[in-house]
Symmetry: none
Subunit: 221 residues, 4 copies
DNA sequence: AATGAATGAGCGTTCATTCAT
DNA sequence: CATGAATGAACGCTCATTCAT
């Protein structure tokens, strides 16, 4: 499919072709199960050329992670307009996120599934991206707390946990939306906003849920 | 550790040793990167014995998934007392969940990370467990809605999305709690309850977040 | 099938059961492809018992060859009555041979196919049997020559070649009769007698076929 | 022998080297006992190259069978000149056959011994060749019958049995000639012609050997 | 700019064989 | 008399990687 043998292409183009093939293969097979043969064939080049341009399998996978992480964060960043309110920014970011992951399922599989299974050199790459997103969300939460005329006296770790939960829910919903047919990016974003925003809001108004210490019974929500 | 060469053990015991070693190795290396040699050595037996008792690498991994999935669901089930309120059940379940994942990080890695990267024979195994948990959470949400004297007129898909988001947040917090030093299971559970319970509550009271259609501005939480 | 677990049998019986299973397995799978596990299971005993009674796979195979070679030669010997004429003796021997190979196809496969593919320790065993049969046939040919009032001035090597050809034709016809449905032992024997006897006869009357030396044309038979 | 490490050969050449080594190894060890390591080493290449060119052990063996079967049938075909009489054609074919098997003993072992011990994928290959030869011989027999001004009223199965016997005798004599020192191809062919031709001739003149039904005595040849 | 030819190292799997009971 | 438990050694096959052109 599309394997029209067009030789003698400039290096930058060839590299992108290789990365495309690699992302597809890594995303579907996983890092270990993907073979350089398959990637080279899918890219329409010979194996030595892959090694000439991207030094090793490890470097190739790292390049995939970097490219796709940049593309994802860029997509989210481009979807958010800075002037608007915190909830609107969060909504826009989530829409961009779900749209991008839906359009690039292999890339999302690389970032979310495959890269995390091999901690040594790869998880650090994707962790950087994730932390960037978590920081962005954290800042939104803090901004929302300010917007609610409340001192952001939420302890830092608590905010970190909330952001982690929010991002985790988003990741899980991305998989869910990709797997379940007929779930659009907007629907996924709506679900998450409904789930999270009120909780965050009441949290900021001081109405936090308290754990039942020593066998106390808790009330309904 | 404890690799005293104690020969001639009954089969059932040896099998558990092998599964222990396999869970550890699979959880840390991933399915493909884990070698049967390493597993056998860690189990303190020779490779042929592993093949004699657990027919193949695939079967071994499946056995790991099954055992750990059963252990996790059993731990959650044992932590929940049926008579109590929905929020208390959810809290207890989350505590049990975070406690179990914290005590069995390799098992959690197998279930959450490794099993999902090889869809063909394994994802189905873990998907069954996940659906069981999602169903449990869904039932809690519906129960909470009833408890709030509200007709559970939430559309089915909406509830499914909420449960997915909740479980995803829990999974993500489990990783976070395992990685971040000093975060206890109770703290993770508290964070998630804070994050989710109010949101669910306001949702049930009809105050749902509405997406900004065509450029409408939304309000602060 | 027939695996009624009858423990504690006398050694001689067990050995025969093992040899039965071994002949069947070796005959169908070949020496290398047959596994001791399969043989032990088919014999209804545990593997160590096989090693206790028949020391190794090699010895087991040798024992199979010996038993079946003896059975075959005994069957042929029993079919031949010494007082009769040479052609009748040959006919009776062939009938006995084809009958035995048809009734014991696995044994025949062991002797004719499997044992010959591994020259080092096994071919010698079966070669002994074969030479015994070739000698018997040779003696018949010589007797027939005497019976025809001819001096057996056939050179020794020529007689050896004839016997070899006759035995080879018989072996090939045994396979053919086993494979082709509806070919009885008598039919195979008749075919071979028709094929060979007249040739031998005219040979002894001095009418031998002469090779076309240096481009000479030969006549029709 | 000749194991000068000459690297970088074109694929076609390497493939023939590999097939040479494989035929030798398979012919001497048998299919199961031959190891790919040994074949690769004998071919002077590394194992992966063998797998790159000839996909598997099974395919390699099949390729050996095909090449050697084609070579053998071609040698026989090339030795027979169509215009001559049936006996001359048979003689020429036998000479070519015995010459080829004597010059390529390993190839003959592959075809005659090794390929027949593993029926599932291999026997069909060699059976095709054998049937081709049997058909050729059958046609010669029928032609000879016509040449003798006799209606070929031999029943079809009878002719098939005769051809089978003739081919079997030839195969056996090939082994015998290969094993016994000082037996030339012409001598083997002469022996077989003497053995078979007169028998066929008298058969066609209606003088067929009749089996002794119910204890009748038979006469000398 | 690009490739055909080639390999060292390792993995999943199997098997004949033994030990302790 | 008989076996459950266990292994050293090897085999078929694959893969990331390089060299020579």
């Amino acid at each position: 499919m599309g394997s029209v043998k067009t030789r003698r292409m400039p290096r930058a183009v060839r590299e992108q072709q290789m990365l495309d093939a690699a992302v597809k293969t890594f995303g579907q097979r996983g890092y270990m199960a993907a073979s350089m043969d398959e990637i080279a064939e899918l890219a329409g080049v010979s194996k030595p050329l892959v090694y000439l341009y991207l030094n090793s399998k490890e470097d190739l996978f790292t390049a995939c992670i970097r490219r796709e992480a940049a593309a994802l964060t860029e997509a989210v960043r481009a979807g958010v307009r800075p002037g608007l309110g915190a909830d609107r920014q969060l909504w826009d970011g989530l829409c961009a996120f779900f749209t991008h992951t839906a359009r690039n399922p292999d890339a999302w599989a690389v970032l979310h599934l495959q890269a995390r299974t091999h901690p040594e050199p790869f998880a650090a790459e994707v962790a950087a991206m994730r932390e960037e997103i978590v920081a962005f969300v954290t800042q939104l939460i803090v901004a929302a707390a300010r917007q609610a005329h409340r001192d952001p006296d939420l302890p830092e770790r608590e905010v970190a946990g909330l952001a982690e939960a929010l991002v985790g829910a988003a990741e899980s919903l991305a998989d869910w939306a990709n797997t379940t047919p007929g779930v659009s990016a907007r629907q996924a974003a709506t679900t998450l906003m409904n789930f999270a925003w009120a909780g965050l809001g009441s949290l900021m108004e001081g109405r936090s849920w308290s754990p039942p210490d020593h066998g106390r019974e808790s009330s309904a929500p």
